[in-house]
């Protein structure tokens, strides 16, 4: 029995990991040891059967998802809502079984293992703290589930709960009920509960979505710090690209169950593979125009805006990041000026263009530039490295020489 053996190994593993914990005593040291590991997803596919057998169509939530997630990093799984992010998370933690494909944690295949023997910690979107238990009881709940010799004594449980609580800074709230805590504190308790059993992998489903804007900024730093301290491979799901870009070591951009691009946040932002990734990342979003390549030059409307060496003549989509515009009275690219928003550090110039796919063109320029709002036209030069060309039919990126 392959899975039984796997399970046995895992139990031994937990046993030793746990003994180590008791001997060393300090959570930091133990959590810092090599218990986290890389995660490999192979051709992972999840198909939900149609709800109505006659008329319904099946839903492909995750499609041929292959990825190797490096050890000990903070990974942001990013995509618009309904793109299958949460399904990937559920497949990883074992709440759902994949239709096909394989999942490995380190060298162990865990595809067939039930959730409880995978050694994952999960932080749910609405935290799922048990309302009838105190903070402390919530945190030690996973430890009380351990059986036989793996089960720590009461004192050990208390000590462990205290250490994890200190790490997430809720040690003063141990006797409260979840309903007596603020959203941010509940979030910390949920993280503590996921960490207390020393998971190999920590999963978070939209960890910041229930917090207000200010707390969100604070908590995302906190998540980064906790991840750094523990060194546990952490995967979190979000639809907020700013959130993902700001703290992740690596982001995975998904759409309709397909992984579109993976990489360091800045690399993905600077070098999008296709139109979807380009439009999804960045606030304010990228400006997209319909354009044409003629004789090595890019035309938007009738204006020749830049040279495009090595690209044959064709119709293209042109993506220009808001920061890719330079105000220039003799610039090649003209837009109809609609308004100016002053934000202190910089100004956004809002204009329209006949060839723009978005209703307005938004460009961000430094506040030192003065824009004459009385004029009807505004002219820009484009920064070539902030301009991306995409194939009109496939929306794939066209690279310049």
């Amino acid at each position: 029995m392959d899975s039984a053996e796997n399970r046995n190994n895992l139990e031994n593993f937990w046993h030793y990991a746990y003994n180590d914990f008791v001997m060393k005593g300090r959570a930091e040291r133990v959590l810092g040891m090599e218990i986290s590991m890389k995660v490999v997803l192979e051709q992972l596919t999840k198909i939900f059967p149609p709800r109505n057998k006659k008329t319904g169509t099946e839903v492909i939530a995750v499609n041929q998802f292959s990825m190797e997630i490096p050890d000990g990093k903070l990974i942001g799984l990013l995509g618009p809502s309904g793109c299958g992010k949460s399904t990937v998370l559920n497949l990883l933690c074992g709440l759902q079984k994949p239709t096909s494909g394989k999942i490995y944690f380190g060298d162990d295949e865990v595809t067939g293992l039930p959730a409880e023997s995978r050694g994952v910690g999960m932080v749910f979107q609405n935290y799922a703290l048990y309302p009838h238990l105190t903070v402390k009881q919530n945190i030690i709940f996973p430890l009380q589930n351990l059986k036989g010799e793996h089960r720590p004594t009461r004192e050990e449980m208390d000590a462990k709960a205290k250490e994890v609580a200190e790490m997430v800074q809720i040690d003063a709230l141990m006797d409260r009920k979840p309903s007596e805590l603020s959203g941010g504190q509940q979030q910390r308790v949920a993280i503590a509960r996921a960490l207390v059993k020393m998971p190999r992998i920590l999963l978070m489903d939209e960890p910041l979505s229930n917090l207000d804007a200010r707390l969100r900024l604070q908590t995302r730093e906190e998540i980064k710090r906790i991840q750094n301290e523990t060194g546990i491979t952490t995967i979190f799901v979000t639809h907020d690209q700013e959130e993902a870009m700001s703290i992740s070591d690596m982001i995975l951009v998904m759409k309709e169950g397909v992984l579109h691009q993976a990489g360091k946040p800045q690399e993905v932002y600077d070098n999008p593979k296709n139109l979807f990734v380009a439009t999804f990342l960045g606030t304010p979003p990228i400006n997209v125009f319909a354009g044409e390549i003629k004789a090595g030059c890019l035309y938007i409307g009738d204006e020749n805006v830049m040279e495009t060496p090595g690209v044959t003549d064709r119709e293209v989509y042109v993506g220009v990041r808001p920061e890719g515009f330079v105000l220039d009275a003799r610039g090649a690219f003209s837009c109809k000026l609609k308004g100016v928003e002053v934000m202190g550090r910089d100004i956004s110039v809002i204009s329209t263009h006949d060839n723009s796919l978005n209703p307005t063109v938004r460009s961000i320029i430094s506040a030192e530039n003065a824009v004459d709002t009385a004029r009807e036209e505004v002219r820009f030069t484009l920064k070539p490295h902030k301009v991306y060309l995409f194939q009109k039919d496939t929306e794939e990126r066209i690279y310049l020489d």
Partner: protein, 210 residues
């Protein structure tokens, strides 16, 4: 328990729910008479219950006019049969209102089925359970029509009298005409129910989580 079972069955769930709910929509007295026929032993037939017992090699007992334990058994069996569907209905809806995410969280943490039941399910539906326990206790002390349906109006001779039955007897029954006894019994009934409800409330402070 049955409710948990019911919620975990997905196929034919509606059918089972209907079957379990059937006693609730039928008339108490009518069903009581049917029960009496099922369990009664007459010179002509032993009744269905005894036929089943015989099949397992147990000698026939008259459940309606027989020994005290047999009559008590029929009464209990009948009461459970009548009361259960309402409780199941309430509990099923209580269970449905528990957020699935608690179960997912418990599953990821490797909680055993028994622990999920005792540490999550029961506390989560404890307000409903508490309500059912209180109304159940009160209902048990008020029992009268069930006994009448099974054993006829002369409950004293059947040794199956209830408190409400005693109140009735003192007022209108064969030994009637003693309203003072009846009032005293009614007040005693009230006190007993009040005391038990208070005890329930005290216990619930510790175990019920709103």
């Amino acid at each position: 328990m049955i409710s948990v079972g019911l919620t975990s069955i997905t196929k034919l769930r509606n059918l089972y729910q209907t079957v379990f709910f059937l006693p609730y929509v039928t008339n108490t007295l009518a069903v009581g008479l049917v029960f009496m026929i099922l369990f009664k032993k007459t010179p002509y037939t032993d009744g269905l219950a005894n036929l089943v017992l015989k099949f397992f090699g147990i000698s026939a007992v008259d459940f309606i006019d027989g020994p005290y334990w047999a009559k008590m058994f029929v009464l209990c069996f009948y009461t459970i049969w009548v009361v259960l569907p309402f409780k199941i209905l309430i509990l099923t809806s209580a269970l449905a209102s528990v957020n699935q995410q608690y179960y997912n969280a418990a599953k990821v943490d490797g909680t055993s089925g028994f622990r999920i039941f005792t540490r999550i399910t029961v506390p989560m539906i404890s307000p409903t359970l508490f309500y059912l326990i209180i109304t159940g206790f009160i209902g048990a002390f008020k029992a009268y029509s069930d006994a009448v349906a099974l054993f006829g109006t002369n409950l004293n001779s059947a040794e199956m009298n209830t408190i409400v039955g005693y109140v009735y007897d003192m007022l209108y029954g064969n030994s009637g005409g003693y309203p003072s006894y009846a009032s005293a019994a009614a007040i005693i009934l009230f006190t007993i129910v009040l005391t038990i409800t208070c005890i329930n409330l005290l216990v619930s402070k510790k175990h019920v989580h709103y």
